[in-house]
C-alpha cells in the first residue's frame, strides 16, 4: 500500500519510493524520507496529506503520496 491509504497517526516504515525523478528522490532522501525509515501521516487533506518525517512536518500532494510505498 502507499501513503494515500495510510492510517492517521500510525507509524509506517517506507518500503520503496516509486519515482523516475532522480532529483526528487535525492531531495526526499535529504529530508530523511527513504526506504527503511519511519513515516507517519498526521492527517489527510483534500489534495494530499500532512506527514511527519524525522522531526519535520511536510505537506505532500496525492501524486507524491501515492509514490511512497509503505
Amino acid at each position: 500500500m502507499n501513503l494515500t491509504n495510510a492510517q492517521e497517526g500510525k507509524e509506517y516504515i517506507i518500503r520503496a519510493i516509486e519515482t523516475d525523478d532522480e532529483e526528487m528522490d535525492a531531495f526526499l532522501f535529504s529530508l530523511g524520507c527513504y526506504t527503511g525509515e519511519p513515516i507517519t501521516v498526521i492527517s489527510h487533506l483534500k489534495g494530499g496529506c500532512v506527514v511527519s518525517i524525522k522531526d519535520g512536518r511536510y505537506n505532500i500532494d496525492h501524486q507524491l503520496a501515492s509514490a511512497i510505498l509503505i
Binding site: 492517521e8 497517526g9 507509524e11 519515482t19 525523478d21 532522480e22 532529483e23 526528487m24 535525492a26 531531495f27 526526499l28 532522501f29 535529504s30 529530508l31 530523511g32 527513504y34 519511519p38 507517519t40 498526521i42 492527517s43 487533506l45 483534500k46 489534495g47 494530499g48 500532512v50 511527519s52 518525517i53 524525522k54 522531526d55 519535520g56 512536518r57 511536510y58 505537506n59 505532500i60 500532494d61 501524486q63 507524491l64 509514490a67
Partner: protein, 668 residues
C-alpha cells in the same frame, strides 16, 4: 574575514544575519524566503575586534546537492569561494534532519561553529539537547542561540567563537570516503551511512518529551486552516481584511492627516515664491510638490499594508496557503508554490518575481514569473485608491475587486500559457515544509514597514520627482519653447506626444491625452499615474475627496477627468493589468532567462490590459446607456486581431505536439 551563514531552509539564517549586521533583509516563516547571497559587515559590539568581519547570508539548503536553483548558490559558495569560517545554523527542533547537512559542511575543512537556533522552542516543548556532548561528537563548538530575541540570545558567543577559529583546519567527525560520485547506488549507500551516523549522535544528545509524530495543537490549527471547505474562504477573508484595513479604514485615516501637512507645506512654499516667475511657481508648487505630494499622500495606505503582510509572512500561514491553493493551481498548470510569489507581489512585484526561483519545474516557474504582475502591487495601490475615491465614493469593494480580478486573470493567463507553450501532462510533485506557527513579531513588522516605506519615499523623491518635473515642463511649453497660453493646453509638447497614444485608447473610453500621458509614465513607475494626473489636472489632494467636493462640487471632481465612471473603471484596470514598471520587467528578464518567454509575457500583459479595459468600457457603457461606447468597431478589430494571433499560436503548438506524439508512437 568572511563568515558564511548556512543551514536548512527556515532555520533562521536571515533573522540571525539581520541581528548581526543591523540590516533589514526579508524574513518569513516558511522555507525558501532568501533566494540570493547577501553580504554585510557584522556590528562591532558583537566581537569588539579590530578586523572587519563580513557576514554572508546564503539561501537555505538541506544538503550539498542542490535541488532548486537557489540551493546551488549555497553549495557553490562554500565549496568555491573559501569563506574563512562557517556558522552552521541548526534548527534545534529538527536535529535529526539538520545534522545531515552539518556533517557534510564539516568535511570541507573550513572552521565551523554550530548555532543551535530556536532553542527557546525546545525549552517550551521540554526537549533537551546536551550541547557539550554534541560539540565533542561533532568536533566543533556548539552554541545555543535564539536569534529572534534581543538579549541573551547567544549571538555574541557565536561570533566570538567563529572569529577565534580563524586559520584553523576543521576536522570532520565523519568521512564519506572515496566513492564514485557518478554511481547512484554508491552515493545512496554513503548517504545512508551518513544518516546512520547522525541518528547515532541524536540518540546520544537529545531527550524528547513530545514526539514529533504525535498530533499536537498546531496540527489541529492546520486541520481548520487547510480544511477542504474552510481553507479557501478563510484565505479570502484574511486577504480582504488586509486590503480593507490598509485601503479603506486605517490607511486613509492616517493619510488624511499626512495630506493635510503636505497641503500646508505647499501653501507655505507657494507664499514664499509668490513674487517669482509664474513658470517657477508652477514648476515648484504644482509640478514638484503637487505631483510628488499626491504620491506621498498614499504612503500610509502602503505602509499599513506592508505591516499586515509582514505579520502574515511571520506567523507561518503562508505555507498553509500554498497547501490550500495547490489543488486549484494544479488545474491551471501551476503549483501551490506559485502562491507565495503572488502574495509577495501585493507588496512589490520585484521580490515577488524573484521568489519564483524556489519553483523547481521550469515551465511553472516561467509562467509564475510572467503572471505574478497581475497581482496589484504596492505602487498600484495609490492608483486604485485614487479611482475608488474619485469615482466610487471610496467604496472598499473596488480595491478588493481589483485583487480578485488579478487572481482571475492569473488563472486565465495560466491556461493560455499552457495552451501556447504546450502543456504536457507530466508529473510535478508538490512538497512543502509546514513550519511551526509563531506569534508574529510586531517589532519586525514595524521595521519591515519602515524600510519599505522609506524605499517608497526615496522613489517618490527621485524617479517620481524627475518624471513630474519633466511632465510639468513638457506641459508648460510648446514645441517652439514658448509658454503655453491658457486654453491652448493641447498645443503643449506633452499633449502632442501623448495624443497619438490617446488615439489607441479611444475604444477603451479614455482617449484624452492627459490620461494617455499618465498611463505612459506609469510604465516607469506605477505611482507616476497618480503624480502625472495630479500635475496635468492640477489637483493635489486625492485622499480627502470630501474637501475637493466642497470646493468644486460633487460631480465636478469626476468632471475634471472628463470621463464616465465606466471609463474610469476601464482606465484603472488598464493601468493595473498592463506591464508593471520597467524594474519589474527587468526582474522578469533575469528570472525567466528566455527572450521568447519574456516577450510573450510582456505581450500577454499588454494584450490583457487592453482587452480587459475594452470589455469593461464597452460592456459597461452598453449596460448603463443602452449603446456601445465610442470607437467600438476599431477596438473590436484590435481585440479580434489579438485573439486571432493567440488562436494561431495555439494551433501551431497543437500541431507540433501532435507531431511529437506521432514520432513517439512511431518510435515505440
Amino acid at each position: 574575514m568572511r563568515i558564511a551563514l548556512t543551514g536548512n531552509p527556515n532555520s533562521g539564517k536571515t533573522t540571525m544575519y539581520n541581528a548581526l549586521t543591523g540590516r533589514n533583509e526579508r524574513i518569513g516563516n516558511w522555507a525558501g524566503v532568501t533566494v540570493e547571497k547577501k553580504e554585510s559587515p557584522i556590528k562591532k559590539n558583537f566581537y569588539g575586534g579590530a578586523e572587519e568581519l563580513i557576514a554572508v547570508d546564503l539561501p537555505g539548503a538541506y544538503s550539498m546537492s542542490p535541488f532548486t536553483s537557489e540551493e546551488s548558490i549555497t553549495s557553490g559558495y562554500v565549496k568555491n569561494e573559501h569563506p574563512d569560517a562557517i556558522i552552521n545554523i541548526v534548527d534545534a527542533t529538527n536535529l535529526s534532519r539538520s545534522l545531515f547537512f552539518t556533517t557534510q559542511l564539516l568535511e570541507l575543512g573550513i572552521p565551523m561553529v554550530v548555532a543551535l537556533n530556536k532553542s527557546d522552542i525546545n525549552e517550551k516543548k521540554g526537549t533537551k539537547i546536551d550541547t557539550e556532548k554534541l560539540s565533542s561528537l561533532l568536533g566543533c563548538p556548539v552554541v545555543a542561540t535564539v536569534s529572534t530575541s534581543a538579549s541573551g540570545n547567544g549571538l555574541t558567543e557565536v561570533v566570538r567563537t567563529a572569529a577565534s577559529l580563524l586559520g584553523q583546519h576543521q576536522q570532520a567527525p565523519y568521512h564519506q570516503g572515496n566513492i564514485s560520485l557518478n554511481s547512484k547506488a554508491e552515493v545512496e549507500a554513503a548517504d545512508r551511512k551518513r544518516f546512520e551516523f547522525v541518528n547515532g549522535i541524536v540518540a546520544k544528545v537529545e531527550t524528547r518529551k513530545v514526539l514529533t509524530r504525535e498530533k499536537n495543537t498546531q496540527d489541529k490549527i492546520d486541520d481548520i486552516l487547510t480544511n477542504k471547505w474552510l481553507g479557501i474562504p478563510i484565505f479570502a477573508v484574511v486577504m480582504f481584511l488586509v486590503f480593507d484595513i490598509s485601503q479603506s479604514t486605517l490607511g486613509p485615516a492616517i493619510a488624511d492627516i499626512l495630506v493635510g501637512w503636505i497641503e500646508g507645506f505647499q501653501g507655505t512654499v507657494a507664499g514664499m515664491v509668490e513674487n517669482s516667475s509664474p513658470l517657477l511657481q508652477a514648476l515648484l508648487v504644482d509640478g514638484i510638490i503637487g505631483g510628488v505630494g499626491a504620491v506621498v499622500g498614499f504612503l500610509p495606505l502602503v505602509m499599513v499594508m506592508y505591516f499586515l503582510i509582514s505579520l502574515l509572512e511571520d506567523c507561518g500561514y503562508m505555507a498553509r496557503v500554498s497547501v490550500v491553493l495547490d489543488p486549484i493551481f494544479k488545474k491551471v498548470g501551476l503549483s501551490g508554490k506559485s502562491v507565495i510569489p503572488f502574495v509577495i507581489t501585493t507588496g512589490c512585484a520585484i521580490p515577488g518575481i524573484m521568489a519564483c526561483r524556489t519553483i523547481r519545474n521550469d515551465r511553472e516557474r516561467k509562467a509564475t514569473a510572467m503572471l505574478a504582475p497581475f497581482m496589484p502591487c504596492g505602487a498600484k495601490l495609490p492608483v486604485i485608491a485614487l479611482f475608488a475615491g474619485v469615482f466610487f465614493s471610496n467604496a472598499s469593494w473596488v480595491g478588493t475587486l481589483m485583487y480578485f480580478a488579478g487572481i482571475l486573470l492569473i488563472f486565465l493567463g495560466a491556461l493560455l500559457v499552457n495552451k501556447i507553450a504546450g502543456y504536457k501532462n507530466r508529473k510535478s510533485f508538490f512538497i512543502i515544509e509546514l513550519p511551526e506557527y509563531k506569534i508574529p513579531s510586531l517589532k519586525r513588522a514595524f521595521l519591515s514597514m519602515c524600510s519599505r516605506g522609506w524605499a517608497y519615499i526615496v522613489k517618490a523623491g527621485t524617479i517620481i520627482l524627475l518624471c513630474n518635473t519633466a511632465v510639468q515642463i513638457m506641459q508648460s511649453f510648446n514645441w517652439s519653447f514658448q509658454l503655453v497660453e491658457e486654453g491652448q493646453e493641447s498645443t503643449s509638447i506633452l499633449a502632442s506626444i501623448a495624443s497619438p497614444f490617446a488615439l489607441l485608447l479611444i475604444p477603451l473610453g479614455f482617449g484624452a491625452w492627459q490620461l494617455a500621458a499618465a498611463a505612459v509614465t506609469g510604465f516607469i513607475a506605477k505611482e507616476n499615474v497618480v503624480g502625472t494626473l495630479a500635475v496635468v489636472y492640477g489637483i493635489t489632494n486625492f485622499i480627502d475627496v470630501d474637501e475637493l467636493v466642497l470646493v468644486h462640487g460633487a460631480d465636478q471632481v469626476a468632471a475634471v477627468f472628463g470621463i464616465s465612471t465606466v471609463a474610469a473603471l476601464a482606465y484603472l484596470m488598464f493601468n493595473l493589468f498592463t506591464p508593471p514598471c520597467f524594474a519589474a520587467i527587468g526582474a522578469m528578464n533575469s528570472e525567466i532567462k528566455d527572450k521568447k518567454w519574456l516577450l510573450g509575457g510582456i505581450c500577454l500583459q499588454l494584450g490583457t490590459g487592453y482587452t480587459v479595459a475594452f470589455l469593461v468600457y464597452q460592456i459597461g457603457t452598453l449596460l448603463t446607456t443602452g449603446s456601445v461606447g465610442t470607437g467600438f468597431v476599431p477596438g473590436l478589430i484590435a481585440v479580434a486581431a489579438m485573439v486571432g494571433i493567440v488562436i494561431y499560436l495555439i494551433k501551431k503548438t497543437d500541431a507540433s505536439l501532435a507531431a511529437e506524439y506521432a514520432l513517439g508512437a512511431a518510435a515505440k
